[in-house]
Protein backbone atom coordinates (compact mmCIF):
# COMPACT_ATOMS: atom_id res chain seq x y z
CA UNK A 1 0.00 0.00 0.00
CA UNK A 2 2.65 2.45 1.06
CA UNK A 3 4.59 1.95 -2.16
CA UNK A 4 1.59 2.97 -4.20
CA UNK A 5 1.11 6.13 -2.14
CA UNK A 6 4.73 7.12 -2.58
CA UNK A 7 4.93 6.35 -6.29
CA UNK A 8 6.29 9.28 -8.22
CA UNK A 9 7.29 11.06 -5.06
CA UNK A 10 10.63 12.79 -5.38
CA UNK A 11 10.63 12.76 -9.18
CA UNK A 12 10.79 16.07 -10.95
CA UNK A 13 7.46 16.44 -12.75
CA UNK A 14 8.12 19.68 -14.58
CA UNK A 15 9.91 23.00 -14.40
CA UNK A 16 7.87 25.96 -13.23
CA UNK A 17 8.85 29.62 -13.33
CA UNK A 18 8.43 31.54 -10.10
CA UNK A 19 8.03 35.25 -10.77
CA UNK A 20 8.86 36.86 -7.44
CA UNK A 21 8.43 40.52 -6.61
CA UNK A 22 11.77 41.70 -5.27
CA UNK A 23 12.30 44.80 -3.20
CA UNK A 24 15.57 45.65 -1.55
CA UNK A 25 15.16 48.36 1.10
CA UNK A 26 18.86 49.19 1.00
CA UNK A 27 19.07 49.87 -2.71
CA UNK A 28 16.15 52.28 -2.61
CA UNK A 29 15.03 51.07 -6.04
CA UNK A 30 11.34 50.39 -6.68
CA UNK A 31 10.21 46.75 -6.54
CA UNK A 32 10.75 44.61 -9.64
CA UNK A 33 9.87 41.09 -10.74
CA UNK A 34 12.58 38.47 -11.09
CA UNK A 35 11.97 35.02 -12.58
CA UNK A 36 13.45 31.77 -11.31
CA UNK A 37 13.14 28.34 -12.87
CA UNK A 38 12.36 25.70 -10.28
CA UNK A 39 12.15 21.91 -10.83
CA UNK A 40 8.90 20.84 -9.20
CA UNK A 41 8.29 17.53 -7.49
CA UNK A 42 4.98 16.10 -6.41
CA UNK A 43 3.73 17.68 -3.20
CA UNK A 44 6.08 20.64 -3.44
CA UNK A 45 4.56 23.80 -2.01
CA UNK A 46 5.17 27.37 -3.10
CA UNK A 47 7.18 27.84 0.09
CA UNK A 48 9.36 24.86 -0.88
CA UNK A 49 9.81 26.56 -4.25
CA UNK A 50 10.94 29.79 -2.63
CA UNK A 51 13.34 27.86 -0.41
CA UNK A 52 14.70 26.08 -3.49
CA UNK A 53 15.40 29.47 -5.03
CA UNK A 54 17.09 30.58 -1.83
CA UNK A 55 19.28 27.49 -1.67
CA UNK A 56 20.25 27.11 -5.30
CA UNK A 57 19.60 30.28 -7.28
CA UNK A 58 19.61 33.44 -5.20
CA UNK A 59 20.34 33.54 -1.48
CA UNK A 60 18.99 37.06 -1.07
CA UNK A 61 15.31 36.22 -1.68
CA UNK A 62 13.48 36.90 1.58
CA UNK A 63 10.25 35.42 2.87
CA UNK A 64 8.79 34.91 6.31
CA UNK A 65 7.89 31.39 7.43
CA UNK A 66 8.17 29.15 10.41
CA UNK A 67 6.01 26.05 10.81
CA UNK A 68 5.59 24.98 7.14
CA UNK A 69 2.26 23.39 8.07
CA UNK A 70 -0.34 26.14 8.09
CA UNK A 71 -0.28 26.79 11.82
CA UNK A 72 1.93 29.78 12.53
CA UNK A 73 0.42 32.11 9.92
CA UNK A 74 3.76 33.58 8.84
CA UNK A 75 3.86 32.75 5.16
CA UNK A 76 0.87 34.64 3.76
CA UNK A 77 1.47 36.05 0.27
CA UNK A 78 -0.36 36.71 -2.96
CA UNK A 79 0.08 33.71 -5.22
CA UNK A 80 -1.30 34.03 -8.74
CA UNK A 81 -3.46 36.97 -7.70
CA UNK A 82 -5.04 35.37 -4.65
CA UNK A 83 -4.06 35.54 -1.00
CA UNK A 84 -2.79 32.14 0.17
CA UNK A 85 -0.44 30.54 2.65
CA UNK A 86 2.71 29.58 0.71
CA UNK A 87 3.14 26.42 2.78
CA UNK A 88 -0.43 25.26 2.10
CA UNK A 89 -0.40 25.82 -1.65
CA UNK A 90 1.06 23.11 -3.84
CA UNK A 91 2.68 24.32 -7.02
CA UNK A 92 1.21 21.52 -9.15
CA UNK A 93 -2.28 22.21 -7.81
CA UNK A 94 -2.10 25.71 -9.25
CA UNK A 95 -1.85 24.08 -12.66
CA UNK A 96 0.23 26.87 -14.18
CA UNK A 97 3.76 27.00 -15.56
CA UNK A 98 4.18 30.52 -14.25
CA UNK A 99 3.58 31.26 -10.58
CA UNK A 100 3.45 34.93 -9.72
CA UNK A 101 4.30 35.69 -6.10
CA UNK A 102 3.67 39.08 -4.51
CA UNK A 103 3.90 40.17 -0.89
CA UNK A 104 0.52 40.73 0.78
CA UNK A 105 -1.15 44.00 -0.16
CA UNK A 106 -2.51 46.74 2.14
CA UNK A 107 0.56 46.30 4.35
CA UNK A 108 3.92 47.92 3.89
CA UNK A 109 6.64 45.73 2.40
CA UNK A 110 9.76 45.31 4.50
CA UNK A 111 11.72 43.31 1.93
CA UNK A 112 10.78 41.05 -0.99
CA UNK A 113 7.86 38.94 0.27
CA UNK A 114 7.98 40.13 3.87
CA UNK A 115 5.04 42.37 4.83
CA UNK A 116 5.01 44.78 7.75
CA UNK A 117 2.20 43.42 9.93
CA UNK A 118 2.22 46.23 12.50
CA UNK A 119 -1.29 47.28 11.44
CA UNK A 120 -2.70 43.78 11.93
CA UNK A 121 -1.36 43.50 15.49
CA UNK A 122 -2.29 47.07 16.38
CA UNK A 123 -5.90 46.55 15.27
CA UNK A 124 -6.11 43.21 17.04
CA UNK A 125 -4.89 44.80 20.26
CA UNK A 126 -7.33 47.70 19.98
CA UNK A 127 -10.40 45.44 20.28
CA UNK A 128 -9.10 44.05 23.61
CA UNK A 129 -8.90 40.38 22.64
CA UNK A 130 -9.31 38.90 26.09
CA UNK A 131 -12.17 38.17 28.47
CA UNK A 132 -13.07 41.30 30.41
CA UNK A 133 -14.70 40.99 33.81
CA UNK A 134 -15.94 43.41 36.46
CA UNK A 135 -14.35 42.00 39.54
CA UNK A 136 -10.72 42.75 40.28
CA UNK A 137 -9.79 39.21 41.24
CA UNK A 138 -11.56 36.10 39.96
CA UNK A 139 -13.27 34.26 42.79
CA UNK A 140 -13.50 30.97 40.96
CA UNK A 141 -13.74 29.42 37.54
CA UNK A 142 -16.03 30.99 34.99
CA UNK A 143 -18.26 28.22 33.84
CA UNK A 144 -19.33 27.53 30.30
CA UNK A 145 -21.42 24.80 28.70
CA UNK A 146 -20.12 22.94 25.62
CA UNK A 147 -22.78 24.75 23.54
CA UNK A 148 -21.62 28.12 24.81
CA UNK A 149 -18.06 27.28 23.93
CA UNK A 150 -19.11 26.01 20.49
CA UNK A 151 -20.93 29.29 19.77
CA UNK A 152 -17.69 31.21 19.26
CA UNK A 153 -15.18 28.36 18.76
CA UNK A 154 -14.78 28.86 15.01
CA UNK A 155 -13.37 32.36 15.51
CA UNK A 156 -10.68 31.08 17.87
CA UNK A 157 -9.12 29.23 14.93
CA UNK A 158 -7.63 32.46 13.58
CA UNK A 159 -3.85 32.14 13.14
CA UNK A 160 -3.35 35.86 12.47
CA UNK A 161 -1.88 35.33 9.05
CA UNK A 162 -3.40 38.62 7.90
CA UNK A 163 -4.51 37.31 4.50
CA UNK A 164 -8.00 38.66 5.09
CA UNK A 165 -6.78 42.26 5.40
CA UNK A 166 -4.88 41.89 2.17
CA UNK A 167 -7.99 40.64 0.36
CA UNK A 168 -10.33 43.24 1.89
CA UNK A 169 -11.33 46.04 -0.52
CA UNK A 170 -12.21 48.38 2.35
CA UNK A 171 -8.73 47.99 3.77
CA UNK A 172 -7.35 48.87 0.35
CA UNK A 173 -8.50 52.46 0.72
CA UNK A 174 -9.08 52.97 4.45
CA UNK A 175 -5.77 52.71 6.25
CA UNK A 176 -7.40 52.88 9.69
CA UNK A 177 -10.14 50.29 9.12
CA UNK A 178 -9.99 47.63 11.83
CA UNK A 179 -10.22 44.86 9.28
CA UNK A 180 -11.84 41.41 9.27
CA UNK A 181 -9.34 39.82 11.64
CA UNK A 182 -9.81 42.28 14.51
CA UNK A 183 -13.58 42.53 14.04
CA UNK A 184 -14.02 38.75 14.02
CA UNK A 185 -11.97 38.59 17.23
CA UNK A 186 -14.09 41.34 18.77
CA UNK A 187 -17.14 39.19 18.06
CA UNK A 188 -15.40 36.15 19.47
CA UNK A 189 -15.01 37.87 22.85
CA UNK A 190 -18.27 39.78 22.91
CA UNK A 191 -20.23 36.61 22.16
CA UNK A 192 -18.37 34.71 24.88
CA UNK A 193 -20.76 34.35 27.80
CA UNK A 194 -17.95 34.99 30.32
CA UNK A 195 -17.19 38.40 28.85
CA UNK A 196 -18.66 41.71 30.05
CA UNK A 197 -16.50 44.01 27.95
CA UNK A 198 -18.90 45.18 25.25
CA UNK A 199 -18.98 48.74 26.57
CA UNK A 200 -15.21 48.97 26.73
CA UNK A 201 -14.86 47.89 23.12
CA UNK A 202 -17.72 49.98 21.82
CA UNK A 203 -15.84 53.19 21.11
CA UNK A 204 -13.43 51.32 18.83
CA UNK A 205 -16.05 49.16 17.10
CA UNK A 206 -18.81 51.77 16.71
CA UNK A 207 -16.54 54.28 14.99
CA UNK A 208 -15.84 55.62 11.52
CA UNK A 209 -13.25 52.93 10.89
CA UNK A 210 -15.04 50.21 12.80
CA UNK A 211 -17.67 47.56 12.21
CA UNK A 212 -20.00 49.64 9.99
CA UNK A 213 -17.28 50.11 7.38
CA UNK A 214 -17.56 46.54 6.11
CA UNK A 215 -19.37 46.17 2.77
CA UNK A 216 -19.51 42.38 2.91
CA UNK A 217 -17.57 41.55 -0.21
CA UNK A 218 -16.79 38.22 1.45
CA UNK A 219 -13.22 38.22 0.16
CA UNK A 220 -11.83 37.73 3.68
CA UNK A 221 -13.85 34.56 4.13
CA UNK A 222 -12.90 33.36 0.65
CA UNK A 223 -9.19 33.49 1.36
CA UNK A 224 -9.09 32.54 5.06
CA UNK A 225 -6.94 29.39 5.25
CA UNK A 226 -8.55 28.27 8.52
CA UNK A 227 -12.24 28.62 7.66
CA UNK A 228 -12.70 31.32 10.28
CA UNK A 229 -15.30 33.08 8.09
CA UNK A 230 -14.48 36.55 9.47
CA UNK A 231 -17.24 38.10 7.31
CA UNK A 232 -19.79 36.08 9.27
CA UNK A 233 -18.27 37.35 12.52
CA UNK A 234 -18.60 40.95 11.35
CA UNK A 235 -22.25 40.63 10.28
CA UNK A 236 -23.17 38.82 13.52
CA UNK A 237 -21.36 41.52 15.50
CA UNK A 238 -23.51 44.10 13.74
CA UNK A 239 -26.62 42.11 14.53
CA UNK A 240 -25.56 41.91 18.15
CA UNK A 241 -24.96 45.67 18.30
CA UNK A 242 -28.19 46.64 16.54
CA UNK A 243 -30.36 44.16 18.41
CA UNK A 244 -28.98 45.40 21.71
CA UNK A 245 -29.29 49.06 20.88
CA UNK A 246 -32.42 49.47 23.00
CA UNK A 247 -30.91 47.61 25.93
CA UNK A 248 -28.75 50.58 26.93
CA UNK A 249 -25.13 49.64 26.99
CA UNK A 250 -24.65 52.04 29.90
CA UNK A 251 -26.00 49.42 32.25
CA UNK A 252 -22.41 48.52 32.68
CA UNK A 253 -21.80 45.54 34.82
CA UNK A 254 -25.25 44.19 34.15
CA UNK A 255 -24.36 40.62 35.02
CA UNK A 256 -25.71 39.08 31.84
CA UNK A 257 -23.99 41.29 29.27
CA UNK A 258 -25.62 41.71 25.85
CA UNK A 259 -28.40 39.50 24.54
CA UNK A 260 -26.40 36.85 22.74
CA UNK A 261 -29.13 34.32 22.22
CA UNK A 262 -30.76 36.04 19.26
CA UNK A 263 -27.40 36.17 17.48
CA UNK A 264 -25.60 32.93 18.30
CA UNK A 265 -28.57 30.85 19.35
CA UNK A 266 -26.91 30.29 22.73
CA UNK A 267 -27.29 32.61 25.71
Amino acid sequence: MQEVALKGFGEVVKTVTLRIRRYDPESGEPPKYVEYKVPVQMGMTVLDGILYVKEHLDHTVSARYSCRMGICGSCGMIINGRERLACQTQILELGKDLVKIDPMGNYGTVKDLVPDLTKLFRNHESVKPYVIRDEEEPKGEYLQTPEQRESYAMFTDCIMCGLCLSACPTNATDELYLGPQALAQAFRYISDNRDLGLNERLNVLDSKHGVWRCHFSGACSDVCPKGVDPALGIQLLRQLLTSNVFVKFEQKGAPKGPDRKSVTGVS
Partner: protein, 149 residues
Protein backbone atom coordinates in the same frame (compact mmCIF):
# COMPACT_ATOMS: atom_id res chain seq x y z
CA UNK B 1 12.92 51.24 4.68
CA UNK B 2 9.46 49.76 4.49
CA UNK B 3 7.51 50.80 1.41
CA UNK B 4 3.78 51.21 0.88
CA UNK B 5 1.99 48.37 -0.85
CA UNK B 6 -1.62 49.51 -0.77
CA UNK B 7 -3.98 48.00 -3.27
CA UNK B 8 -5.96 51.23 -3.58
CA UNK B 9 -9.41 51.85 -5.10
CA UNK B 10 -8.51 49.94 -8.24
CA UNK B 11 -8.91 46.74 -6.20
CA UNK B 12 -12.63 47.54 -5.74
CA UNK B 13 -12.93 46.45 -9.34
CA UNK B 14 -10.81 43.33 -9.03
CA UNK B 15 -13.24 40.53 -8.16
CA UNK B 16 -11.16 37.89 -9.92
CA UNK B 17 -10.04 34.96 -7.81
CA UNK B 18 -12.58 35.64 -5.08
CA UNK B 19 -16.21 34.53 -4.72
CA UNK B 20 -19.62 35.71 -6.01
CA UNK B 21 -20.04 38.21 -3.19
CA UNK B 22 -16.91 39.99 -4.30
CA UNK B 23 -18.26 40.13 -7.87
CA UNK B 24 -21.49 41.60 -6.58
CA UNK B 25 -19.52 44.08 -4.48
CA UNK B 26 -17.57 45.26 -7.53
CA UNK B 27 -20.76 45.57 -9.58
CA UNK B 28 -22.43 47.43 -6.72
CA UNK B 29 -19.61 49.97 -6.68
CA UNK B 30 -19.62 50.29 -10.46
CA UNK B 31 -23.40 50.76 -10.73
CA UNK B 32 -23.32 53.16 -7.77
CA UNK B 33 -20.77 55.37 -9.49
CA UNK B 34 -22.65 55.17 -12.80
CA UNK B 35 -25.95 56.13 -11.13
CA UNK B 36 -24.26 59.00 -9.30
CA UNK B 37 -22.87 60.40 -12.54
CA UNK B 38 -26.21 59.86 -14.26
CA UNK B 39 -27.98 61.73 -11.48
CA UNK B 40 -25.73 64.77 -11.92
CA UNK B 41 -26.22 64.70 -15.69
CA UNK B 42 -29.96 64.24 -15.18
CA UNK B 43 -30.23 67.28 -12.88
CA UNK B 44 -28.25 69.36 -15.36
CA UNK B 45 -30.39 68.11 -18.24
CA UNK B 46 -33.73 68.88 -16.61
CA UNK B 47 -32.46 72.24 -15.31
CA UNK B 48 -32.44 73.36 -18.94
CA UNK B 49 -36.17 73.87 -18.72
CA UNK B 50 -35.27 77.22 -17.11
CA UNK B 51 -33.91 78.39 -20.47
CA UNK B 52 -37.30 78.16 -22.14
CA UNK B 53 -39.11 75.60 -24.26
CA UNK B 54 -36.95 76.03 -27.38
CA UNK B 55 -33.69 75.18 -25.59
CA UNK B 56 -35.44 72.38 -23.76
CA UNK B 57 -36.70 70.75 -26.92
CA UNK B 58 -33.30 71.09 -28.57
CA UNK B 59 -31.55 69.52 -25.56
CA UNK B 60 -34.04 66.66 -25.52
CA UNK B 61 -33.38 65.89 -29.17
CA UNK B 62 -29.59 66.33 -28.85
CA UNK B 63 -29.38 64.02 -25.86
CA UNK B 64 -31.54 61.36 -27.39
CA UNK B 65 -29.69 61.21 -30.67
CA UNK B 66 -26.08 62.35 -30.24
CA UNK B 67 -24.69 59.23 -31.91
CA UNK B 68 -27.62 58.13 -33.99
CA UNK B 69 -31.08 57.32 -32.75
CA UNK B 70 -30.13 54.22 -30.75
CA UNK B 71 -27.92 56.00 -28.24
CA UNK B 72 -30.54 57.59 -25.95
CA UNK B 73 -32.64 54.45 -25.39
CA UNK B 74 -29.51 52.35 -24.98
CA UNK B 75 -28.07 54.54 -22.24
CA UNK B 76 -31.44 54.68 -20.55
CA UNK B 77 -31.72 50.88 -20.65
CA UNK B 78 -28.26 50.46 -19.17
CA UNK B 79 -29.05 52.93 -16.40
CA UNK B 80 -32.25 51.05 -15.73
CA UNK B 81 -30.41 47.74 -15.38
CA UNK B 82 -27.86 49.44 -13.12
CA UNK B 83 -30.62 50.94 -10.97
CA UNK B 84 -32.45 47.62 -10.70
CA UNK B 85 -29.24 45.83 -9.72
CA UNK B 86 -28.14 48.49 -7.24
CA UNK B 87 -31.53 48.70 -5.54
CA UNK B 88 -32.11 44.96 -5.27
CA UNK B 89 -28.56 44.12 -4.22
CA UNK B 90 -28.91 46.94 -1.69
CA UNK B 91 -31.90 45.13 -0.21
CA UNK B 92 -29.91 41.89 -0.04
CA UNK B 93 -27.03 43.69 1.68
CA UNK B 94 -29.39 45.33 4.18
CA UNK B 95 -30.65 41.88 5.10
CA UNK B 96 -27.34 40.02 5.35
CA UNK B 97 -25.36 42.90 6.82
CA UNK B 98 -27.71 42.80 9.77
CA UNK B 99 -26.88 39.17 10.29
CA UNK B 100 -30.22 37.94 8.94
CA UNK B 101 -30.42 34.90 6.64
CA UNK B 102 -26.85 34.01 7.60
CA UNK B 103 -25.72 30.83 9.34
CA UNK B 104 -24.97 30.87 13.05
CA UNK B 105 -21.39 30.03 14.12
CA UNK B 106 -20.48 26.56 12.87
CA UNK B 107 -17.56 24.17 12.92
CA UNK B 108 -15.20 24.84 10.00
CA UNK B 109 -14.36 21.75 8.02
CA UNK B 110 -11.74 21.25 5.37
CA UNK B 111 -11.59 22.57 2.64
CA UNK B 112 -13.05 25.50 4.59
CA UNK B 113 -15.64 26.88 2.21
CA UNK B 114 -17.16 29.84 4.04
CA UNK B 115 -20.88 29.45 4.72
CA UNK B 116 -21.70 33.13 5.13
CA UNK B 117 -21.35 33.73 1.40
CA UNK B 118 -23.34 30.63 0.50
CA UNK B 119 -26.54 28.94 1.64
CA UNK B 120 -29.48 31.31 2.15
CA UNK B 121 -27.31 34.19 0.96
CA UNK B 122 -27.10 32.41 -2.41
CA UNK B 123 -30.86 31.87 -2.42
CA UNK B 124 -31.32 35.62 -1.87
CA UNK B 125 -28.99 36.34 -4.77
CA UNK B 126 -31.01 34.13 -7.10
CA UNK B 127 -34.38 35.58 -6.03
CA UNK B 128 -33.12 39.14 -6.39
CA UNK B 129 -31.47 38.27 -9.70
CA UNK B 130 -34.82 37.06 -11.06
CA UNK B 131 -36.57 40.21 -9.76
CA UNK B 132 -33.87 42.31 -11.40
CA UNK B 133 -34.40 40.69 -14.78
CA UNK B 134 -38.18 41.19 -14.52
CA UNK B 135 -37.83 44.85 -13.46
CA UNK B 136 -35.28 45.64 -16.14
CA UNK B 137 -37.33 43.83 -18.80
CA UNK B 138 -40.49 45.78 -17.97
CA UNK B 139 -38.55 49.04 -18.12
CA UNK B 140 -36.75 48.25 -21.36
CA UNK B 141 -39.96 47.16 -23.08
CA UNK B 142 -41.45 50.49 -22.06
CA UNK B 143 -38.43 52.47 -23.30
CA UNK B 144 -38.47 50.84 -26.72
CA UNK B 145 -42.18 50.34 -27.34
CA UNK B 146 -43.99 52.64 -24.92
CA UNK B 147 -46.04 49.66 -23.74
CA UNK B 148 -46.53 49.36 -20.02
CA UNK B 149 -46.43 45.65 -19.19
Amino acid sequence: MTIENKKGWISWFNPFKYGTDRWMYSLHRLTGIALGLYLIAHVWETSNILNGPITWNKIMVDLDYPFGQHFGPLILSLILIAAAYHALNGIRLTIVENGLMLPRPYRPEYPYKAKSTRGLNDVLKIVLGILMIITAAIGIIYIYTGVIV
